[in-house]
Symmetry: C2
Subunit: 358 residues, 2 copies
């Protein structure tokens, strides 16, 4: 069964500043390397999805870098958004294009900047989700939570609908926004909740049907764009209609309101690598371990410290739990406990109209 | 009264690595800037010592950089040591050369890498020392201690011999090696001890007389070199005889054994700026202050942190009491409490035969 896939490649990842920049967003970075996050995403999908069936949706300023990173993907499969409109239009357009090619197409949607440690378990979950999609469900792959994370949304699982590929497929009772810590602890203890990684599998037509009902304006515009796709006026149509689309995510626009949503709980070492601390957590083999990416680290009496660089030597002495990010024009030294607040530096620079370092 | 002066410009300052390197020692660095430590040393002496009376003794690998930094000093006054032999031979040779020019020459010796906050008070102390030197004393300028430093030697003051320029000139009872903390505290509390900054003033002939008695081999060799100074065989003589000199400091070789030593206790904001912590102490106006030298510092929730760089932006978040030193090929992040141990990194690199970063 050859699947289809769309990879929305957007977002800048401001918490990974200064490695992540407007011109060099998170998905293009070698985190944890050596492949970029986008390259690793394509790599783990290729055994399920032939290159011709894979679409990448990205911004105009990143199209060249994306094409250079994934030479196996036909250039025509890299779709340039005139403006960022969230995952709703990006994924919806891919569904419309896939459905035109293959009315029975089963497709998945996968963020370009998430990390998966175990690609074999990942593909097993995707195959199970594809089986459920064949039954007409909008399927989300839920991540079995390993700790009470407050930065993710959660999915409350209902009854088991059936089993596929050795995995249970549940009805979804409810999507929950990012909880506070006490609520997250309750979720994890209950065993009934999964992290929402915004990883979806469905028949392209099933999504389009839901979109026609739940986001009719979006549906109309995307249908019109898809109809022009093989005509000479594709670019003009895209330019003109895309601007009229609202900004909406698939999660808010479709999944939270549809009544045919299923979830496949799975474990494959998923993390969104949202910040430097989570990268250090991922890579440190022991609590006291230091992690060096792209830099030579000369560590003396140093613990729990991540250095990320581009060849220069970084020496540390008598420090603990730091993140040190070395780039051409700016250096960041941050305590790991403050990794979430790196975005504040970016916001401050933006607020000052200081474009140099963004 | 025109004085003479010698500035031994040696030592690498390994605790100020990686700014300080074999090829770019501490005395050539802009600490605290904008002048280098050597330039600032010359600058505060010029009102007392005409350029023609000033000798700088340095290693062959630094002679060009020294000449470039102090264009006012005649090039012939920059003496290149074939090998480093400590301050004894360097200062002794200067004394021999000065005495040949002017049998009554009164000279001072001043390290090239010490910081003086108040040059007016400094010159007042040197003038007082020069008056005492005229009386036939080997005079050292003692620094009134401001805290129980264990990294310096101390001088125990005896009776007051006389006053000059409003300052008391004491007999010296004893030179003390670097003490432990309890001893240093006792020294400071007693009011009888001064820091030994290895800052000396004497009649050139008085030093030569002491040297003839206390270091006769050194005296003979230096006399022979000085005699050849204006002959065509100067370079050959220097090369041949310098290698035969023992390595000895003026402190150990002369001052600790002579019986005509006097001290002028003075306060002029002296520090040897031996490590990054002392530089931060010097420049921070309040306890929580950060200090940025040569780098743009974007500080968020950051306290007591020194950044030293060369133009690149350094952003910090949620850190305290760090030293961050940014150079072309290596970056150091060090806790201020470990500033003394920076030399351990240098020793480790040296031990590994790793010349790149030394």
């Amino acid at each position: 069964m050859a699947l289809y896939a769309v990879i929305p490649a957007g977002g800048s990842g401001t918490r990974l500043w200064p490695a992540s920049r407007t011109a060099r967003p998170k998905f293009l970075l070698p985190l944890p390397g050596p492949l970029s996050m986008l390259q690793a995403t394509v790599e783990r999908l290729l055994p399920l999805v032939p290159p011709a069936n894979m679409l990448i949706v990205t911004g105009a300023s990143h199209a060249d870098a994306v094409a250079a990173q994934v030479p196996e993907i036909p250039e025509g499969n890299i779709i340039v958004e005139p403006q960022a409109r969230g995952t709703g239009p990006a994924i919806g357009l891919a569904a419309a294009l896939f459905a035109r090619r293959d009315p029975d197409a089963i497709m998945g949607s996968f963020a370009a900047d998430h990390h998966v440690a175990d690609p074999i378990a990942f593909r097993q979950a995707i195959r199970a989700a594809a089986e459920a999609a064949r039954e007409g469900y909008l399927v989300t792959v839920g991540i079995k939570p390993t700790y009470p994370e407050t930065g993710y949304g959660y999915i409350r699982c209902g009854e088991i609908l059936f089993h596929r590929e050795g995995l249970a497929v549940h009805a979804v009772e409810e999507f929950k926004e990012k909880p506070d810590l006490a609520t997250a602890e309750r979720y994890v203890a209950s065993g009934q909740y999964q992290w929402n990684a915004s990883m979806f599998v469905w028949r392209a037509q099933t999504l389009l049907d839901a979109m026609r009902r739940l986001l009719p304006d979006v549906y109309e515009l995307l249908t019109e764009i898809a109809a022009a796709w093989d005509r000479p006026d594709r670019a003009e149509t895209m330019e003109r209609l895309w601007a009229q689309l609202p900004e909406v995510t698939i999660d808010h626009g479709i999944m939270e309101h549809a009544d045919n949503v299923a979830v496949v709980p799975a474990s494959f070492g998923w993390t969104d690598l949202g910040d430097w601390h989570s990268l250090a957590e991922l890579l440190a083999s022991e609590k006291d371990d230091n992690v060096a990416l792209g830099a030579e680290h000369i560590a003396t009496d140093t613990r729990g410290t991540l250095v990320f660089g581009d060849g220069r030597v970084i020496a540390t002495l008598g420090v603990e739990d730091l993140v040190i990010v070395d780039t051409d024009d700016v250096l960041l030294v941050c305590h790991r406990s403050r990794a979430q607040d790196v975005r504040r530096i970016v916001e401050r620079l933006r607020g000052q109209g200081d474009q140099r370092l963004l």
